[in-house]
């Protein structure tokens, strides 16, 4: 890895200040499991002069129960979330999504904030700079999206624009289904936004120097059930080809609210209102599930090699909802 200087910061506002002073020539590091790969392959249009370590910020590593919901610090490790009794009891979808990430070794280092903010895994974007030169693309500031005419089997089937890479984060999908918001601090103070709004086709929507500090999950509605399911080729290590996070609330035997988010198919968690609308006011049973799941991704515009993701999404939704009826 090429040389960079390194700074530990003690507070989030120090981190923001330090990044702004560097005028775009710095990166934040949390667990480093994503960032170090990016720096080793020299993918960024400008290599950082300074890496700012945010792991030294106090008080962002905890899970705190709050009125039936929870506030999770951005520095909480994925390995802690998969084992946390509060998370397992109240937000099993999040626990399952955290446990499904990568490998035990990565989950020991990877943070929730880093998992949400990680860069795309598009294999064109990730092509190492030192192997025959940089593969430029819209995310790197110039050139076309190579996935459009190239091998796009793992790319988005809906919502791509200029860049067709899907959101790689598993926890984002579960958190979106749970209605979670993220809190962000930047030069203009704090703001908070729904998890799904953290994503755009060109990457996450954090502005320069902003740090994601906390994730807030609201208390879940009475009578709701939730889950997360992920399709991969290998069980460990692999990113989701497709994943689904769902929360279904039922009143007197009928669905009053459904939140269905699909991962691996769009630049962010894709909310499938077609499925949600069909389920509303119906009992959640094999019949409604079979019909609802076929309504998933009806608006998709797959690329040349990835229409198969639509079938997988429909099967995953059906499997997950069936499990939630048990």
């Amino acid at each position: 890895m090429r040389y960079f200087s390194h700074q530990n910061v003690a507070t989030a506002s120090d981190g923001v200040k330090s990044a702004i002073e560097c005028e775009g020539k710095s990166c934040f590091i949390a667990g480093g499991t994503d960032l170090l790969g990016i720096l080793k392959d020299d993918l960024l249009p400008s290599y950082p002069e300074k890496v700012i370590n945010i792991k030294t910020i106090e008080g962002l590593g905890n899970v705190e129960g709050r009125e039936g919901g929870a506030r999770i610090g951005a520095l909480a490790k994925l390995s802690a979330l998969e084992r946390d009794p509060t998370i397992i009891e109240l937000f099993p979808a999040l626990a399952e999504s955290a446990a499904s990430v990568a490998t035990p070794e990565i989950r020991n280092a990877a943070t929730l904030g880093g998992n949400l903010c990680q860069d795309t895994r598009c294999w064109y974007y990730r092509y190492p700079h030192h192997m025959g030169g940089r593969m430029d693309c819209p995310r790197k500031g110039s050139g076309p999206c190579h996935a459009v005419l190239g091998d796009n089997r793992y790319h988005s089937v809906i919502g791509g624009k200029r860049c067709f890479a899907p959101c790689p984060s598993d926890t984002a999908i579960a958190l979106a289904a749970l209605g979670a918001t993220v809190e962000v601090i930047g030069a203009d103070g704090e703001r908070s936004l729904p998890v799904e709004d953290l994503y755009s086709p060109m990457g996450n929507t954090l502005r320069g120097g902003e740090i994601l500090t906390n994730v807030d999950i609201p208390a879940q509605p009475k009578g709701s059930v939730q889950g997360f399911k992920k399709f991969t080729v290998r069980k460990p290590i692999d990113f989701a080809i497709v994943s689904v996070g769902a929360r279904i609330t039922a009143l007197e035997g009928k669905v009053s609210e459904a939140r269905i988010f699909i991962g691996g198919v769009a630049p962010g968690p894709y909310r499938d209102e077609g499925v949600e609308n069909y389920l509303r006011r119906k009992p959640l049973d094999s019949q409604s599930i079979a019909t609802a799941s076929k309504k998933a991704l009806l608006k998709a515009k797959p690329l040349s090699m990835n229409a198969y993701k639509i079938d997988i999404a429909r099967s995953l939704i059906a499997e997950l909802l069936e499990e939630l009826t048990r």
Binding site: M1, R2, Y3, F4, S5, H6, I29, G31, G32, T33, L36, G37, L39, K40, D41, V51, N53, K55, S79, A102, T103, P104, E105, I106, N108, A109, K235, P236, I237
Partner: protein, 168 residues
């Protein structure tokens, strides 16, 4: 390149205290150096193997404060105060006797080329410390990220289960 003196980090590696001056000058440890490079290139502890150098194969696994961790995805500068154990730290320092896990790997020939073996053993060590009699499914999930090009996985599972039995 930074010329300011000097920040120090100190960590213990296999029980020995090590201190490094951090910086960009000759003899200093660059902040961009990974723990894998420090172990192998700076300290000659070449038992830790670097396969992918990208977090995807687990061959570089060492124990950092007891947790199996990827040394290729860890900056040494961020290990201040940490205790690191590598494969060289497993045998008894006085007698040189191998750890029961190492012996079990030998007895089961749980390797072919041996490149993935140190990482496998370190992750298995952490597993057995936390869970002295793991079920096969637990062994598989603890070692699920460890890539073996020679398909030693089946023998590895036997070796770890055997080592667990020998201990109890």
């Amino acid at each position: 390149m930074s010329s300011k003196p000097t920040k120090w980090v100190s960590l213990t590696i296999n029980g020995d205290n090590r201190e490094f001056a951090i910086g960009g000058r000759a003899g200093e440890l660059p902040p961009s150096e990974t723990l894998a490079d420090t172990l192998r290139e700076r300290l000659g502890l070449t038992g830790t193997k670097v396969g992918c150098d990208r977090g995807s194969c687990c061959s570089c696994t060492v124990l950092i404060n007891g947790a199996p961790s990827l040394s290729c995805m860890t900056l040494t500068v961020e290990c201040d105060g940490a205790s690191v154990i590598t494969i060289e730290g497993l045998p008894d320092p006085l007698t040189g006797a191998l750890d029961p896990l190492q012996q079990a790997f030998i007895d089961h020939t749980a390797y072919q080329c041996g490149f993935c073996t140190p990482g496998m053993i370190m992750a298995a060590k952490a597993l057995l410390t936390a869970n002295p009699s793991p079920a096969e499914s637990e062994i598989k999930s603890a070692l699920g990220g460890h890539y073996c090009r020679c398909i030693s996985h089946y023998h590895v599972i036997d070796a770890v289960a055997d080592a667990a039995g020998r201990k109890s």
